[in-house]
Structure formats: C-alpha cells, structure tokens
C-alpha cells in the first residue's frame, strides 16, 4: 500500500466516522435542532462514501439535495412548529418506547448482518466501467425516460399538495385573529381546545 493509498483509506474512515457520529447524534439528542444538525453531518459523510463508490455527480447531488434542500425544509418545520415547553420526562411510556426501539433495531441488525455475511456476492459478467455523466444522462433520457418523467410529476404534485395543506385553515385563523383584535384579546391559542 503506497503513501497516497494510506491517506485515501484514512479519509474513507473519516467519512464513515462522520456517518456514524451524525446518525448517533440524530437519534440520541433531545433537541430538535441538534437532530437536524446530526442529519446534515450524516449526509455529508454519505456524500464522501458516494465519492469512494465512484460517482462524483451523486456526491454533488447528495450535498445539494439532502444537505442543501431537505435539511433547510426541516429547519423551517422546526422553526414554525417547535414548542420549547417539551421536557424529556422519564415516564413508563418512555421506557417502553426505548425497549421497543432497541429490540427492533437489534433484530433487524442481526437478520441483515446474517444476510450480508452469509451471501456470496458474485459480480455480473461483462462489466462496463463507465461512470461518466454522459452515460448517466443517456440512461436517464433513454432507458429510464418514463420513470424520470413520473418522478418530476410526483415532485410537482407533492410540492403543490404541500402548499395547499400548509395553507389550509388560514382563513378561519385570520377571522379569529381579527375578531379577537376587535375585542382587545390576546393571540388565539386554538379553537380546537
């Protein structure tokens, strides 16, 4: 192993460490903003893993879409919907949740590790090693053309639907606010309560 290979291997371990530490921060912390921070760290590590798997394009897309778009959306969700009065209470329900989480995670881990380690993975015959973006774009627009168009429609419908969902019920709220303002009241808590 040459000097540069050692450096590359060390960087690989650094990326794996980023993924593991980010995931642990994501699932262990009680503060929601730290959860999203851990998610961003795990996504950055995964981007490095994609680089080692030979795809520069997916590395950039991972950083652009996951770290740049999804994490921002989640931060917006936290800023609008987060109630800081939530206190972590050690009740019985908490312990039951933790037990369920650990048992299901351990079961899935053992099953999947048995699958990974017991299977003899055989590479396909006639491999072509063309990782270029040109080949990727040809696959997108010839072989996977229908799926590509469907994904764009799904994204459009999801975004329009989320706008409609997030706007729903605002007229009532405006009426209540105006009503309470004219009655010199406070901000309305919720008419459901």
């Amino acid at each position: 192993m040459t000097f540069y290979q050692t450096i590359a291997e060390g960087l690989f371990f650094a990326f794996i460490l980023l993924v593991i530490l980010g995931s642990i921060l994501t699932i262990r912390t009680k503060i929601l903003m730290h959860t999203v921070l851990g998610l961003a760290v795990a996504f950055l590590g995964t981007a490095g893993i994609y680089f080692y798997l030979g795809s520069m394009f997916l590395t950039l897309m991972q950083i652009l879409i996951y770290v740049g778009a999804i994490c921002i959306v989640l931060v917006f969700g936290i800023m609008v919907g987060y109630t800081p009065t939530e206190v972590a209470d050690k009740t019985l329900k908490d312990w039951r949740n933790k037990f369920l989480a650990i048992s299901s995670a351990v079961t899935a881990f053992l099953l999947l590790m048995a699958c990974v380690l017991k299977t003899d993975w055989v590479p396909a015959l006639g491999e072509m090693r063309d990782f270029s973006i040109t080949h990727l774009g040809e696959e997108f627009l010839y072989t996977f053309c229908l799926a590509f168009e469907l994904i764009s429609i799904v994204l459009l419908v999801a975004i329009v639907g989320s706008i409609i969902l997030a706007r729903g019920g605002r007229e009532d709220e405006y009426e209540t606010i105006e009503h309470l303002r004219s009655a010199k009241g406070n901000y309305p808590n919720d008419d459901a309560q």
Binding site: E9, T46, I65, V106, G126, A158
Partner: protein, 106 residues
C-alpha cells in the same frame, strides 16, 4: 493488507447501520420532526446499498446511480409533504408530539 474502501461488505454494513439507526430513531423520537429525520436516514441507507451494488456487482454502473437519484427525489417530495402535514397538525393541536394526536387512534 486488504483495503476496506474496496470491499463490498464495508458499504453493506454501513447501509445496515443507517437502516437500524433510522428504525431506532423512528420508534424512539417523541416528535414528528424526529420521526421524519429518522425516515431520511433509512432512505439514505437504501441509497448507500444501491450505490455499493452498483459499484461492485452491476453490469451497467449507471443504473444504480439513476435509482439513487430517484430515491433522492422521492425523499425530497416526502419531506415537503410531511413538513406541511406537521404544520397542519401543529396548527390544529399546538403540538408535534405524536402521543397527543390521538383523534384517529380508535
């Protein structure tokens, strides 16, 4: 010495780790946003698995990249939908704790 970055099992075990971290967080988190974040971890693990098989086993190395890009698109759509759900639920209940949203529990 065998290089770990050139071994399929390393990537598969990393994908398994991301999956079980997502499952653990999905059950253990006490807010909708935490559960959404854990779901993103699961999808990310699926992407790592696809890329690993694409690099080591697949005959055409573009297919796994295409499917991983599809997973990213689905994850983006899912995040947008779920965040707007969370906004609607928060407006209705003033809370994002899944234990307090019990109207459909039966």
């Amino acid at each position: 010495m065998m290089m770990l970055s050139n071994n399929l099992n390393t990537y598969l075990i990393l994908g398994v780790f991301l999956l079980i971290a997502g499952i653990y967080g999905l059950i253990q988190h006490k807010s909708f946003i935490g559960m959404l974040v854990s779901t993103e971890l699961v999808l990310n693990g699926a992407g790592v698995n696809f890329m690993a098989f694409n690099r080591f086993l697949a005959p055409d190395p573009a297919v796994g990249q295409v499917i991983t890009l599809f997973i990213m698109g689905i994850a983006a759509a899912e995040a947008a939908i779920v965040v707007s759900f969370i906004l609607a639920v928060f407006r209705r209940y003033q809370s994002i704790d899944p234990n307090e949203v019990k109207e459909l529990q039966g």
